[in-house]
């Protein structure tokens, strides 16, 4: 078999298709096709755009998250067991400066205060207010931020008597035990033997404290001396704000809870007749003639509020000094 030459193949192919003649209306058919394509272009593009828009809309509808009909409520804060009693000695959950599980219960938050909840009572030393001034040399207790109201804090129990009895903080008619462990105030409640702890900088043992039911609500307020720098005694006021809950109260307007004369300034406080706490602040130019500004504080469930102010003069030492602590056994 001889191979087919390319030239011969070209000739055969050309001869084979030689009879083909274009149709006379071929050009018109091409022009008609072009015109038909041109006419259809706009509707096709329009239709394509509409289809694309529909697809995009469908995609948006499909992807869009469905409206959530379920109402998600925040979880309630954990409620601390208030009456848990450990086997022998349980841990302490102290909080200071407003951090931690602070609470104020029905009496609301006093300004400043750390609340300590303790669930087991290690029997600590029982301290009664000493007759003499303890050698407190530390700095005054550091200011503690206001205690916020904790919805989970236990409510106040019902007091058995109004006003409360001697050293009765929890209102059960029996005296509670007050002590100190380092710089921590400890109160063991006679109601359920629980111990509350509050860190107070400057307190030392023996503790100088007094329980006075100033507002006569059946729960005693606790005064604790936190220092005596340069002869000026400073105190902290602790309130019973819920079952086994103590709150360190702060005075409004940054009034100091102190007693004594230091140079040309002097402070004092006393428990008023109408269930108030009276703060006296004096200034002098010669150290004997003092201008005294007296602020009367009222106890409210939310803390201490200013009921009224007055001014007077006092000559030290001829007049009775208003610059002493005069509440209960404090003097």
């Amino acid at each position: 078999m001889s191979a087919l030459e390319p030239g011969e193949l070209t000739r055969l192919l050309a001869e084979a298709v030689e009879p083909i003649r274009p149709s006379p209306d071929a050009y018109q058919q091409i022009r008609a096709g072009i015109d038909r394509r041109r006419r259809l272009r706009l509707p096709i593009f329009t239709l394509g755009g509409m289809v694309m828009a529909a697809l995009v809309a469908l995609a948006v509808v499909a992807i869009r998250p469905s409206p959530n009909n379920q109402t998600v409520e925040p979880a309630a804060p954990p409620v601390l067991p208030s009456t848990y009693v450990g086997p022998t000695q349980a841990g302490t959950v102290p909080s200071s400066g407003g951090s931690g599980p602070t609470g104020s219960g029905g009496r609301g938050p006093g300004q400043g205060g750390g609340t300590t909840r303790t669930y087991s009572p290690p029997r600590t030393q029982v301290t009664t207010p000493p007759a003499t001034e303890p050698p407190l040399t530390a700095t005054p207790s550091s200011p503690v931020s206001a205690t916020s109201t904790n919805a989970a804090s236990p409510p106040l129990p019902t007091p058995v008597a109004k006003p409360a009895g001697v050293n009765d903080i929890d209102g059960d008619g029996r005296p509670d035990t007050i002590g100190a462990d380092g710089t921590t105030l400890q109160v063991q409640f006679s109601r359920d033997d629980q111990v509350a702890r509050i860190p107070l900088t400057g307190i030392t043992t023996p503790l100088n404290s007094a329980v006075v039911d100033i507002d006569a609500d059946g729960f005693g307020e606790l005064f604790v001396q936190t220092g005596a720098p340069n002869g000026m005694k400073t105190y902290a006021l602790v309130r019973y704000t819920g079952l086994d809950t103590l709150t360190l109260a702060a005075l409004p307007n940054e009034l100091p809870l102190a007693a004594g004369v230091r140079g040309n300034s002097a402070y004092g406080f006393r428990c008023g007749q109408d269930h108030t706490l009276v703060i006296s602040a004096g200034t002098s130019t010669d150290g004997s003639q003092f201008s005294v500004a007296t602020t009367t504080l009222e106890f409210t469930p939310t803390g201490l509020t200013v009921q009224g102010t007055a001014s007077s003069t006092a000559h030290i030492p001829s007049d009775a000094s208003p610059f002493v602590p005069s509440c209960g056994t404090l003097s």
Partner: protein, 185 residues
């Protein structure tokens, strides 16, 4: 997919520029038609297994080239693009015909047709019969190389394969045709 060099998308034009492009396309279409329509129809007749479809394929190719005229970067290569379009459309037509033949009803008995004319002469040519027995790639390579007189590189560009493949397809096709056309020589 076959690609013609110089083909690229172009940015959108203004109405005035678009009308200029349309006028150029019309002029180019007329020129391409007068110069190459007949040869392209014959090329399509060699690629297709139904000569009656060759004009339809070529006319579609002209319409497509006219529509795409604005996107043609090198208009000197319009003929190459037109040839490639004819080849691609011929392939598509063959593919469609294969599918149609699979599902076609029983054909009617052959009857003499007054329209057969020149097409019947072509259909009866031995070289055409031998050509249609070749595989599609070999047929394309032989037709493009020896009828369209294209170089191996141009044929490779139109067929969308390498030059080596074109050589192989051409060699095998030529050898097969030699055996089939032995009696004609």
């Amino acid at each position: 997919m076959t690609v013609v060099e110089g083909w690229r998308p172009v940015p959108a034009r203004s109405d005035a520029a678009r009308s200029d492009v349309a006028r150029d396309a019309d002029a180019a279409l007329t020129a391409l038609y007068s110069e190459h329509y007949r040869s392209l129809v014959r090329l399509a007749a060699l690629l297709l297994d139904d000569v009656g479809l060759c004009e339809e394929v070529v006319q579609d190719a002209y319409i497509k080239v006219h529509a795409a005229w604005g996107r043609l970067q090198d208009r000197d290569k319009a003929l190459a693009y037109l040839r490639q379009t004819v080849v691609n459309l011929a392939r598509s037509t063959l593919r469609r015909r294969l599918v149609a033949l699979k599902h076609a009803p029983k054909p009617m008995p052959d009857a003499a047709s007054a329209e057969e004319g020149a097409y019947s002469l072509v259909e009866r040519a031995a070289v055409i019969q031998a050509l249609r027995e070749l595989p599609r790639r070999q047929r394309e390579a032989v037709v493009l190389r020896y009828y369209a007189d294209m170089s191996e590189a141009d044929a490779a560009a139109v067929m969308g394969c390498s030059v080596g493949s074109v050589k192989a397809y051409t060699s095998r096709g030529l050898s097969a045709l030699s055996g089939k056309l032995e009696g004609l020589r």
